[in-house]
Amino acid sequence: MATTEITKRGYKENLKKFLAVSSQNYAIIYILLGLFVLLSFTAQNFLTLNNMVNVFRQSAIYGILAAGEFFVIISGMIDLSISSTAALAGILFAMIIKAGGIAMWPVAVLVGLLVGILVGVINGILVSKLEIPPFIATLGSYLYVRGIVYMSTNAYPIVSLDKGYNFFGRGFIWGIPFPVLVMAIVYIIAIIISEKKKIGRFFYAIGGNEEAAYLSGIDCVKIKTLAYAICGFMASIAGILLMSRLGSGQPNAAIGYEFDAIIAVVLGGVSFSGGKGKALNVFFGTLFVAMLVNGMTIMNINPFAQQIIEGVVFIIAIWNDVFRNKKTR
C-alpha cells in the first residue's frame, strides 16, 4: 500500500517536473496545440488532410528562411536581407531555365545556391570583419540585393517557362509536397548542426558571450561569417522553391518575408539576444504562423484585423523573450 502511494507520488512529481521543463523549453508546442484545437472547432474545413497539407506547404518557404535566420540569431546577430537574397537566387534560377530550358535545372539550382552563399558571406564579412552592426549591414544588403534583382530583370517578371519549372514549388514526392520534404531535410540538418556538432556550440557560445567565446579560442570572424553563409544558403533554397511555386520569376517576390521568418524564430523561443534556442522549436514557430494565417483566411477575418492579430502575437513573443531573459539573470 505504502509502496503504491510512493509510486503515485513519484509519478505525479515526475509529471510535474516534465510539464515544468517542457513548458519552459517547448512552450511553442503547447501554444501550437492550443491554436490547432481552437481552429479545429471554429474554422470550417480546417481539420482536413487537404488543409494540413496546405498549412505545411505554405509554411515550407518561411520555415526554410527561419531555419537560416535561426543560426544568425543564436549567434547574437540578425539578417534582414534574406527576402532579397531569396529573390536574387530565385530570379537567377528562373533566368537560367528561361535561357536554357528545364534541362539546365541543375546549373540553375547550383548558381542560385552559390549566389545565396555569396550574399551570406558578404554579410558575414561586413559584420564580423568590418564590424558594421548586423542590423545596418544586412539592411544595406536588403537594399542592394533587391536593386540587383530589379536591375537584372528591369523589374519585369520572367514568364512562359518550361512546365517542369513548377515541380520544385508545386510537385509531390510520395504524396508529400516537395517544398515540405526540403523543409524537413533542412530542419534535420539544422538540428544536427546546432545540437550535435562542435560548430553548433560555437554559434551558441558567440551569441551568449562573444568575448568569452573569443578568449576561449573560437574564431569569431569565421563562425559569424559561417552563420551568415548558412542563412544565405537557406534563403536561396527558399527563393528557388518560391519562384517555382509561383510558376514564374518575380522580381518583387518574397518582400517582407524576413519579418515572418524572424517572428517564427522568436516564437520558437530563440533568444533575440543570442545564445539560446532550439531549431526544432523554430519549426513549430513557423507552423504556428502558417496555421494562424491559414485559420484567419479560412474564417474570412477582416484583413486589417489579421494584421493587428499578427502584430500582437509578435509583441507577445518578444515580451516572452525579454521576460525569460530577465528571469535567467
Binding site: 496546405n54 568590418l130 540587383i148 520572367i158 514568364v159 511555386r245 517576390a253 483566411t297 474570412n300
Partner: protein
C-alpha cells in the same frame, strides 16, 4: 586596412557584375532610368521645357509601359522627361514632388498614392505656375490641379461583375461562391469594388461572398490566400482579384489544386503577355479582363501637357478614357494587335 580594401573591392566587383547582368527574357522596350529627380535634373538640357512623371510604383508591366510611353511622348514633343517612383509610399512621393517643384519643372504628371498628402505641395506648384496633371487617382481638393486623366474604375468593376453574373447564370443557375482579393486601402480598388458589387448583384443576386481578403497586389500572398479559401470553400467558382499580379497568384493556386479551368472564372484588370497566356493558353482560368491601357493614359496626359507648353492650348480638366473588355474569345486578336505573342 589593406584587407578591408580588398573586401570592399570584392563587394564592388560583385555589385558591378550583377548590375551588368541583363536577362534576355526581358522585353527591351521599357526605359527604366532609376532617376531620382535630383539626378535627372542634371541631365536636363538647357532651354528645353521639362515634364516630370511621378509614378505610383514601377513593379508591374502596366506601370512600366506607362513610363515608357510617357517618356516617348514627352521626347516626341521636344520636352525633357524626368521620372521618380514612389513605390506606393505617400511620404516618398511627397518628397519627390517637392523636389520637382523646387527644381522648377514646367509640369508634373503624377499618380497620387493618396488623396491628401501632396495637396499643399501641389498648391505651391500652382502658385509657381507649374502645371499639375493627375493620372488614375486625384486629390480630394482639386483646386490646384489642372487636369485629371483617368479611367472609369467603377464602370470597370461593374462590367466585370456583370460578366461574372452571366457566368454564374449560364453554368450554375445564378448561384455560386465568390472570392475577392484586393487592397482595401487602395482608392482605385474601392471604386472597382463598388462597381463589381453592383454589377454582380444586378446579374446574379444569389451569389454568395465567401472571402474578401487583402492580396496586397502581390502574387505569392494572393496564391496563399487562394489556397486557404479553396480549403474552406473548394466550390468557390468566381474569383475577382483586382489586379493581374493577384490574378496570377489565384490562377497558380487553382492550377495547383487541380481545379478544372472550365468550372471557374477569374476576372481581373489585366495587361500584358501573362494575361494573354492565361486567357488563351491551355488552362484558360481567366475568363475576362478589363483593360485600362496605361499607354493611352500616359500618352493622353503627357500630350495634354505638351500641347499646353508648346502651343498654349488649355487643359480639359477631366479626361475620362475608355476601357476595353477582353474575354477568352477576343483575347488573341486584341493582344496580338498590340504586339504580344499568342500562346
Amino acid at each position: 586596412m589593406r584587407k578591408s580594401l580588398v573586401v570592399l573591392s570584392v563587394l564592388l566587383v560583385f555589385g558591378m557584375l550583377f548590375s551588368a547582368c541583363q536577362t534576355e527574357a526581358v522585353p527591351e522596350e521599357p526605359a527604366m532610368e532609376e532617376a531620382a529627380p535630383e539626378e535627372a535634373m542634371e541631365e536636363v538640357e538647357d532651354g528645353k521645357k521639362q515634364v516630370a512623371l511621378g509614378m505610383y510604383f514601377r513593379r508591374d508591366e502596366w506601370w512600366q509601359d506607362l513610363e515608357k510611353t510617357a517618356k516617348d511622348t514627352a521626347e516626341a514633343n521636344g520636352l525633357e522627361f524626368l521620372v521618380a517612383d514612389a513605390d506606393g509610399d505617400s511620404a516618398t512621393q511627397l518628397q519627390q514632388i517637392e523636389t520637382f517643384v523646387s527644381q522648377g519643372v514646367d509640369a508634373i504628371v503624377y499618380a497620387p498614392v493618396d488623396v491628401s498628402a501632396t495637396t499643399d505641395i501641389v498648391a505651391e506648384a500652382h502658385e509657381m505656375g507649374i502645371k499639375v496633371v493627375c493620372i488614375e487617382l486625384c486629390l480630394e481638393d482639386l483646386t490646384n490641379v489642372d487636369a485629371w486623366v483617368q479611367f472609369d474604375q467603377v464602370k470597370a468593376g461593374y462590367d466585370l461583375g456583370v460578366m461574372a453574373g452571366e457566368f454564374l447564370n449560364e453554368n450554375y443557375g445564378g448561384e455560386g461562391k465568390v472570392a475577392i482579393l484586393w487592397e482595401p486601402g487602395n482608392l482605385v480598388h474601392q471604386m472597382r469594388y463598388e462597381g463589381w458589387k453592383k454589377g454582380l448583384l444586378e446579374t446574379a443576386p444569389n451569389a454568395v461572398y465567401v472571402a474578401e481578403q487583402n492580396g496586397e497586389s502581390n502574387r505569392d500572398v494572393s496564391m496563399a490566400i487562394a489556397e486557404n479559401v479553396l480549403t474552406a470553400n473548394p466550390d468557390t467558382v468566381i474569383w475577382y482579384p483586382m489586379v493581374e499580379e493577384m490574378a496570377f497568384g489565384v490562377i497558380a493556386a487553382l492550377d495547383g489544386a487541380g481545379v478544372d479551368p472550365a468550372s471557374v472564372a477569374v476576372y481581373t484588370e489585366g495587361w500584358g503577355q501573362e494575361t494573354l497566356d492565361n486567357m488563351a493558353g491551355d488552362k484558360p482560368y481567366l475568363k475576362g479582363a478589363i483593360i485600362t491601357p496605361s499607354t493611352i493614359l500616359a500618352e493622353a496626359s503627357v500630350q495634354a501637357v505638351a500641347d499646353y507648353l508648346n502651343e498654349g492650348k488649355e487643359f480639359t480638366f477631366e479626361m475620362n478614357l475608355g476601357t476595353d473588355v477582353v474575354t477568352t474569345e477576343n483575347a488573341v486578336e486584341y493582344f496580338t494587335a498590340l504586339g504580344y505573342t499568342a500562346p
